[in-house]
């Protein structure tokens, strides 16, 4: 058994999953925003990075890692809420390119401000889990305590979000506000507030992804979420922007694809993993693999 776990095939599975859960979280956060406000949040990664920085500056002052993660999530949620209120709310009903452009501008500003404050030198964030890989009978298994933490945390967050949507009143209101805003308003749902909450939720999920990324061997630096955002976006598109399950599946798929391309082709071409999957997926189903078919309005 242990020799199977240390086979290069399993190395790639573990590596792909570890990276993939980060993509899944980003994809999930994009889907939450899309479902509630039909906006593509280009600044998602940058906002999450900013929140992580704020949380992790406390780490240097001796605050425990877990508190820092909490701070990052709270800051992220606040940022998400404010962004929706100030930047996105005025643009409802306008052409769909407008919020995209605003978010792109916001992305540039956030990254520039983050670099001004914290410089672009990579910071190592020490999570309270070792990054040394396990060895069984002298053979390497590409799992470390940190990787396990990474995967467990990501799954926990996804389950929490799912539970929120399925089993709570808030979740019901969020879904109602997204699917049928006029009807929901008539039934007493504060639709605008739900939209803000949707953004806050999305930003919180994104912040977790950024925290995990920064605590790994990657380190924390202002543009660290750029590549992750692209992959997460592709994952969401592959899965279908309407489907949280699809987003999660898409993220894992892209993580695995990149890892296998890295291993069996050349490292240079690894980023193409996502591209190849996207092209195939969208050629088969232009509206995303997990989306229910929608008729064309005439």
């Amino acid at each position: 058994m242990s020799s199977f776990l240390s086979s290069s095939f399993m190395h790639n599975i573990f590596g792909g999953l570890a990276q993939g859960v980060i993509y899944s979280l980003v994809a999930l956060s994009l889907v939450i925003i899309w479902q509630s406000t039909h906006v593509l949040n280009f600044a998602q990664g940058a906002m999450a990075m900013f929140a992580t920085y704020v949380g992790m500056t406390e780490l240097e002052r001796g605050v425990s890692y877990w508190w820092c993660v909490l701070i990052a999530v709270v800051v992220g949620m606040a940022l998400g809420g404010v962004t929706e209120r100030v930047l996105i709310r005025p643009l409802y009903g306008k052409p769909e390119i407008n919020p995209i452009v605003v978010m792109v501008g916001f992305l540039a500003v956030i990254e520039a401000v983050a670099t001004s404050i914290w410089t672009s030198t990579t910071r190592t964030i020490a999570a309270p889990f070792s990054q040394v890989y396990f060895k069984s009978h002298g053979q390497l298994i590409l799992l470390s305590p940190f990787v396990i933490f990474q995967i467990v945390l990501a799954i926990a967050i996804m389950l929490l979000v799912a539970a929120l949507f399925r089993f709570t009143k808030l979740g019901l209101q969020l879904r109602a506000a997204a699917l049928a805003p006029e009807v929901a308003r008539l039934l007493g749902v504060r639709v605008n507030r739900m939209l803000t909450i949707g953004w806050m939720l999305s930003a919180g999920v994104g912040a977790i992804a950024a925290v995990i990324l920064a605590s790994g061997s990657f380190g924390l630096f202002p543009t660290d979420m750029d590549g992750v955002f692209v992959a997460g976006f592709i994952a969401a598109a592959v899965g279908g922007l309407e489907s949280p399950i699809g987003a999660i599946a898409g993220g894992l798929l892209i993580g695995l694809a990149e890892q296998f391309i890295l291993a069996y082709w050349t490292p240079d071409v690894a980023p193409l993993g996502g591209v190849i999957i996207l092209v195939i997926a969208l050629m088969i189903r232009p509206q995303g693999i997990f989306t229910k078919s929608v008729g064309r309005r005439v």
């Binding site: 995209i100 452009v101 501008g105 992305l107 500003v109 520039a112 401000v113 670099t115 692209v230 005439v298």
Partner: protein, 348 residues
């Protein structure tokens, strides 16, 4: 009635030609008074204007959000790089036409999966394409020169042009200016083409497909062909812009066309005015002189240019401009100019 319409159309085309010519000559005259360094910046701006012209067509007139134009620029640039490596003495016209051709072809390739997509999916597909360019260029080393890229000779200044300059620095000045003048002239030509395209039947069909595709289909317009044409044209223009870039810099590397360039193009186009010709020109000008602009802002506000804040000013200024433009002036500088003009007119 037919010949009258044709006559009127010709008249309009002539006026268009004259105004474009005048604008180009004015810009060329200005290159004579600019310093060599400013001339080089202007040359880059002219190349960007060409790319934005195509982008305006794609996003503004065809309504297809594309983030892939940096990729098309790279295709044009690498085509030129590879061609110049093997055929150093071929005339520039051939080089540029080749870049447009290959660029247009790559547009066709991307259009095939893309024209069925809408909104964010289209953005995602084109984003993925642009993100793929750098790894592809880095990997296929034997063709693209890999990480190090391709280098070729700088543009040779013709001797008749060189004779216009004198003094110790004559050759430096003439070399810099020749590059700028060439770039401006080509931009003028492409501007004229795009102006005609805008006012042509294809242009009108494009806008109809953007606004109401059902009506367009009912009128017999082939949706997929119209959308594909938009991609091909935009890609050809971007390929030419990329090629010009490569020639101005005498080099092409995988890092020359990162994803952030696609975003910069979008920014410049929005600031200038989406879907307008003058917007493309304004976008190019902003590109040329943004370093000087940022330096001015730094000195006005007393910020040290090499401090953390100072060196990130460009991102802050442009990001903020983009947000403010989208919220308060979504039609960019051109839109503001139009509003100003109608304000003045209504108060005459």
């Amino acid at each position: 009635m037919g010949w009258l319409a044709t006559l009127r159309k010709q008249e309009t085309t002539h006026i268009r030609l004259v105004s474009v010519l005048a604008l180009t000559i004015l810009t060329l005259a200005i290159t004579f008074v600019l310093s060599p360094v400013a001339d080089s910046q202007l040359a880059g701006g002219a190349a960007i204007t060409i790319v934005i012209l195509g982008l305006s067509w794609l996003i503004g007139w065809s309504g297809q959000i594309s983030l892939g134009n940096s990729g098309f620029m790279a295709v044009g640039a690498y085509t030129t790089g590879i061609w110049a490596h093997h055929h150093a003495a071929s005339p520039l016209v051939i080089t540029f036409l080749l870049a447009m051709l290959v660029g247009g072809l790559s547009g066709l390739v991307v259009a095939i999966p893309s024209t069925r997509l809408r909104g964010p999916y289209l953005a995602g597909m084109t984003l993925a394409f642009a993100a793929a360019v750098t790894p592809l260029a880095q990997n296929f080393t034997s063709v693209t020169g890999g990480e190090g890229g391709l280098f070729f000779n700088t543009l040779a200044t013709p001797s008749w042009f060189g004779h216009l300059f004198s003094g110790v620095n004559a050759s430096i000045d003439s070399n810099a200016q020749w590059t700028a003048d060439l770039a401006v002239a080509i931009a003028g030509v492409m501007f004229f083409f795009m102006a005609n395209l805008f006012h042509s039947r294809s242009g009108r069909a494009m806008r109809l497909v953007r606004d109401n595709d059902v009506a367009a289909e009912l009128m017999g317009i082939n949706l997929s062909r119209t959308r594909t044409l938009a991609f091909v044209v935009a890609a050809a223009f971007a390929g030419l812009g990329g090629s010009l870039f490569a020639i101005i810099n005498a080099t092409v590397r995988p890092e020359s066309f990162p994803l952030t360039l696609s975003i910069t193009l979008l920014t410049l186009m929005v600031l200038g005015g989406i879907g307008t010709l003058s917007g493309a020109v304004l976008g190019g000008i902003i590109y040329s002189f943004s370093p000087s602009l940022v330096a001015h802002v730094n000195s006005l506000t007393g910020v040290n240019p090499t401090s953390n804040l100072g060196s990130n000013m460009q991102g802050i200024i442009f990001g903020a401009l983009l947000i403010l433009t989208m919220l308060f002036a979504p039609r960019g500088l051109t839109g503001l100019g139009q509003r100003l003009r109608s304000f003045i007119q209504s108060h005459m």
